[in-house]
Symmetry: C2
């Protein structure tokens, strides 16, 4: 079976590495960024680098691992070119916008909308890792609109990556992800911008930042080409989340200014409850 | 040499464990929280649990490892009781407020104001860890006001913990820490409060939260009794930092709402520069 991966960055590259290691697939790849393409080639991430058209023609399964706005834009044209034995899967972080673009496409049933919940703050082919997906969850959206054969082929690949797949409505997926992923990226970007602005002495950031700051600001290292389109594709849910974040932040500041430390303690104890809701 | 540690939580307990492992010190301890005291006793964190008065009387070096507002309150009374061969060191996260309380105390020179830059989001004696401080930085504030002998004794202990000590003005310390530590705690507490409010389906937090969210919200697990007093002691610097954070957040939201993804990308690229300023 031939698998074609379009986009050989952190996600596409990591998928390629794990699938290559199984020895069961012929892997084709392409990347519109010439630097990424040549890096991927020198790292032997796929068996062969080909053009987009050749990849679409020669692959049984085509994986789209590039920014979400480009997926929305290119997906209809890719579906135009495939036959009914081929399958296309995307691995983007938002789903409703992408699905809107192909809702009435005659090959809609050959498409599977997926979001493997894994990543790091790094990007590009050099960031690709073995076992990035192992033990993580994969979300498949609006699976009733995918043909059973297409779904089966996609599930086989996510299983090979060591993922467990769950099914969810695309709108629900995007709403939940705004809260538990996209909002935390923005809080981290804003933390970085703020500290860079107000800490005039950059050496002190280096000297005094402990593991706590490093952890909170980690996502601020995330790639702009990936995240700007995600935020835009999920704007409504995200603005709702940001409005509430701003409300809670203003409340926290007011409580601090009141100098009633018992009220600050109460807010912190409320925040502490997150311990019970996340695993690590 | 006898070392007395007042407060046997994460920080005091971790200091005790490392110093005990050297086999070179007799360790006394006390904790005003009876549960913490009995847990510390059952974990053998110190050689002997004693009363506060007995600890102050019998220790060559007294380490204050409890919340910063209580340090400010108790320190003058502890200095009242010591002789000029004894040394008192605190390990609190803010320094100016504490030093203000003893500025004119006749035993001021026997006090060393320190802040070992290490910790985790956990608390209490069960959170105490071996090697928590190893390879980390320790800040000593306003060292010119400490007697050379007191300073030497304190440095010996921080060396034994594997720390490198740096010297800094207390006001500067508090300002920098507001930016690189206290602000990130608040952004994390507020993220936790927001997600708990808007994500009505708690199971989805558990299911969909990835390592990114876990990293950004990690500090929201931090102890209320420790952090509410730190924020209060450092209020002016912290409010300045929060005001700027709110300004940058509003700016980020406006850019998102403008739907110009190239402007969002520009903000993210600016945020990405934090890569060059922190080590991990």
């Amino acid at each position: 079976m031939t698998i074609g991966i379009i986009g050989l960055g952190l996600i596409g590259g990591s998928i390629a590495k794990d699938l290559k290691a199984t020895g069961q697939y012929r892997l084709l790849g392409c990347d519109s960024n010439p630097d990424h393409a040549s890096t991927a080639e020198s790292l032997n991430i796929v068996d062969k680098l080909v053009t987009l058209d050749q990849l679409v023609e020669d692959s049984n399964l085509i994986i789209l691992a590039f920014p979400v706005h480009s997926i929305a834009q290119h997906l209809p044209h890719i579906l135009d070119k495939i036959n009914s034995a081929q399958t296309v899967v995307d691995v983007g972080s938002t789903k409703a916008e992408i699905l809107k673009h192909i809702h009435t496409h005659p090959m809609r049933a050959r498409f599977v909308a997926a979001h493997p919940l894994a990543g790091t703050e790094f990007s590009g082919p050099t960031a690709a890792l073995r076992h990035l997906f192992s033990g993580k969850k994969n979300i498949i959206c609006n699976s009733v609109d995918s043909a059973p054969g297409a779904l089966e082929m996609a599930l086989k690949i996510f299983n090979a990556l060591g993922m467990e797949s769950y099914f969810m409505d695309a709108g629900e997926h995007d709403k939940h992800l705004a809260y538990v992923s996209h909002l935390s990226h923005i809080s981290s970007f804003v933390l970085s911008l703020t500290v860079q602005d107000i800490e005039k002495d950059e050496e002190q950031i280096f000297n005094l930042a402990g593991t706590g700051f490093a952890s909170t600001v980690r996502l601020a290292k995330s790639n702009s080409k990936t995240w700007a389109p995600i935020f835009d594709a999920n704007l409504d849910h995200l603005i709702k989340a940001l409005d509430h974040y701003q409300y809670r932040l203003e409340e926290f500041k007011s409580v601090l200014k009141s100098r009633k430390t018992e009220d600050t303690e109460r807010l912190i104890i409320e925040a502490n409850k997150i311990k019970e809701l996340i695993k690590n």
